[in-house]
Symmetry: C2
Subunit: 494 residues, 2 copies
């Protein structure tokens, strides 16, 4: 997932921009006995569904199949396509009403061979991986003197001649519950660092991977798409970066000479390809054209098997609907699960989110959409597999909505944040830009960036009971929204 | 470290073989007031040194320098040699009396490119590493149908035709405090599995790495040296093995066809080379020819930086002597720190431990040694960097020795095992075969095989306070042995 978006919006928010385009619609004037009785019924059903979701194991079982059968699901790959076809079949057998696979175009980038080593004065191998969208070295590699910077700002401010040098940025990532530490670095060091280095004449860019852990994994992740410009750009594992910081101390004390580093990285730009969104509906009984979109993204980085990013997000959201299906409870509005393709990769326009954009173009944007349905809420689960600790909703038409939701989520150790949602998940952004309100069911992200985008993003990172807690919170929240009369203020994200 | 030896000796022990060649010498008949008073002084000094060792940070600082400056230290490599030269210099500057570097010959094996992937029916990449001493595939790799076995015994008992197949053994490693779970597998699956598979006509051998963790690291380690015979032999990460077990379940249910796997591994046999032992003495005042050897091994596998295996063992034992030097306390007997070369690698005779053998030949074996000194005790620290929880000594001439030791070690949360030592560390074995008694300061090995022999064996695995607990236990124990009159029964290991 790309917490960079979350960060960017926080910055906009702090700058005073209006996140919520319309004012508060206000509470409904008349909540008579019938409405209140119906609300009580809805709440009781939501609590019942919440409890049925716990210990069902649907999400974990589905995730196990997905990761075992398809492994990594790089955007635009055969693996992503086959996983989409399999997922569509699995949703059909679960009892969803309509399932569609909608293809869209994208540009492909594929990792090649990659290695790096310090040649002198401390010869040793480094654990590295190329940034997605970065350019290749010659087959024999780049071999150059390295200039080490402890922070990104130090690099930006530096007056040192970097011509021909390998720029090494050792800035670490802060461990936070919200992921803001990651967002700060992915939006700067990883996305812009390589081109900043290129502008200063550097021959390659090597950064501390955006991981919060101490294990020796290099974390992948997209940088600006470099078909025509750019320089070889890689991330190294946090322990390698720590070692290099110690070398820098020796350098600064005059106890070690310059570092010479060799890098080999041979990714390829494969040109145009296709990815696809999988869309599955559980149709509403009374208001089938009022749509709530939930889901996760089907693509993953190529190193792990995408269990936490974002197999678990898909598993959680589809299992929430499966809970309703199994309980024979169909809501009044339609819940649509979207498994987005190609969330992870950048594109030549450096925009990314091609699958989510294709969805919004086809189903949300009044100028381009194929139907006249109304999207009343959107949300994505794309922050791993740890427990949900808070819910935040857009401003609701019913003033007591958050209080009702809070009562139902409290037993799951989830509170309702009185502040309106400001995230929603990366794949909801193109819809939010069209005014669709978004909600957040916020997961604990303290450990998310330990394995995110690494070879270690595998099924072993998942605790089934935590997945079920997620499913329970999603099921209960969705029922409240999909089966009541609540409406949310539209909000237009820039 | 090679816990396989520990296991093999346990088997010999259970089979009734005599581990301790001589009978109990018996307590000294007369422990008069002078002897008792001196024992009290020795114990008081041991307790003082124990406390001084805590929070000194000598071991961690040394280990930091070693891993930062030299990274991996493969046996016979330039890195191992340079690390030996640096270590000798560091020991000299610490105040050791005499420092020697003694070279010896060995045969070299060097890892090449390595990768593996499942081609069908579940295409995905595997995280693998070649077993040390194993043969290469052709450059284009081996591509063959795989036969999966849940356990090693299942493979041995199988009547299936394995001609041309890739044999896959998925047997896991039990997590134990003593390491016995590892020893069982390293002595069987890893060391003998490849040749058993070759005898059945297999084209390659792929095993679950001998790790107890769930992270996606492949663990290296030696198999039988295969210069002339053998087949490509690799280990895969535990999560990959778990995924393959799930695929086997689908196969057994008839829901999946045969697995086709491609393996590329291009290690090379480089012929003869040299490694070296580093030997540093702290000479005794009264009985300088009575030698206590301690130490660890300087070589490491090539994937990590050998922080836990066995940088920490060297750091702990040399810091114990440094504690005495810093306190101005010189013992009556000589303490000799040996940093053994080439512990990890197998050799064409499949014996290994070349450095320890070279030491025993030159300094211990009466038929070949260059001096007439007496080795009264040997011990190695080679089981990581977690705390010591038990001490076990060979049978002592003083019946109260273990009780005295227990009093001094108890504040460190270490008990004295009444059973005699049966380990000593792999590099003590050639000396033990010459009758030198060995002691064990047993470390908690519960987590040792999580990162042992992986790329993740780096400084970040080390907790400085735990290293210092080790140093304190070694310092106190050594002082008691080196400054008292205790003698230990000789013991001859087979």
């Amino acid at each position: 997932m790309k917490v960079v978006f979350m960060h960017i919006f926080k910055v906009i928010f702090l700058a005073g921009a209006t996140l919520f385009a319309a004012g508060v619609v206000g509470a409904e004037a008349d909540q008579g006995p019938t409405v209140m009785a119906r609300a009580a019924d809805v709440d009781a059903a939501a609590a019942m569904l919440r409890d049925q979701a716990l210990n069902k194991n649907v999400a974990y079982a589905w995730l196990t199949q997905l990761t075992t059968r398809f492994g990594a699901r790089m955007a635009g790959s055969a693996s992503e396509r086959k996983a989409a076809e399999w997922a569509a079949g699995s949703l059909e057998s679960m009892g969803f009403d309509t399932i569609k696979i909608e293809p869209f175009d994208l540009q492909l980038w594929q990792r090649g061979a990659e290695s790096a080593e310090i040649l002198s004065p401390f010869p040793q191998k480094l654990v590295v991986t190329a940034l997605g969208g970065s350019r290749a070295t010659p087959p024999e590699g780049v071999d150059a003197e390295a200039t080490l910077f402890a922070t990104y700002q130090e690099f930006l401010d530096s007056k040192v001649d970097l011509k021909g040098r390998i720029v090494v940025v050792l800035q670490p990532t802060a461990r936070t519950q919200t992921g803001v530490g990651y967002g700060l670095n992915s939006g700067s060091v990883r996305s812009r660092g390589p081109l900043e280095a290129k502008q200063r004449g550097a021959s390659a860019f090597l950064m501390r991977a955006l991981g919060t852990e101490t294990h020796r994994f290099a974390h992948a992740g997209a940088t600006q798409f470099q078909t025509k410009e750019g320089i070889p750009s890689l991330a190294m594992s946090p322990p390698d970066a720590e070692a290099m910081l110690r070398m820098k101390v020796l350098q600064d004390k005059g106890e070690a000479g310059p570092l010479r580093i060799k890098i080999v990285s041979t990714p390829r730009f494969l040109g145009g390809g296709q990815s696809q969104n999988v869309i599955a509906e559980f149709r509403g009984t009374e208001k089938p054209d009022e749509i709530i979109t939930i889901g996760g993204h089907l693509d993953s980085w190529d190193l792990g098997t995408g269990a936490i990013d974002d197999g678990s997000g898909m598993a959680i959201t589809l299992a929430a609907v499966k809970t309703m299906i199994d309980a024979g409870k169909r809501p009044r509005r339609t819940i649509r699960v979207v498994l987005y393709g190609a969330e992870e990769v950048s594109q030549p326009d450096n925009k990314g989110l091609s699958g989510a954009q294709a969805y919004a173009d086809r189903h949300v944007n009044p100028a381009t959409r194929v139907s006249s349905e109304t999207h009343i809420l959107t949300a994505e689960s794309d922050f791993g597999a740890d427990v949900i600790y808070a819910a935040s909703m857009p401003v609701a038409s019913q003033t007591d909505f958050n209080a009702r939701l809070g009562k139902i989520l409290y037993p799951l150790k989830v509170y309702v944040d009185p502040k309106p949602a400001d995230g929603g998940g990366p794949d909801t952004l193109p819809s939010q830009r069209q005014g669709v309100p978004a909600m957040d069911l916020r997961q604990n992200g303290m450990d998310y960036f330990d394995t995110h985008h690494t070879a270690d993003d595998v099924l072993e990172r998942i605790e089934p009971a935590k997945l079920d807690q997620n499913v329970a919170a999603w099921t209960a929240t969705l029922w409240l929204v999909a089966n009541g009369d609540v409406t949310f203020n539209p909000q237009v994200r820039k």
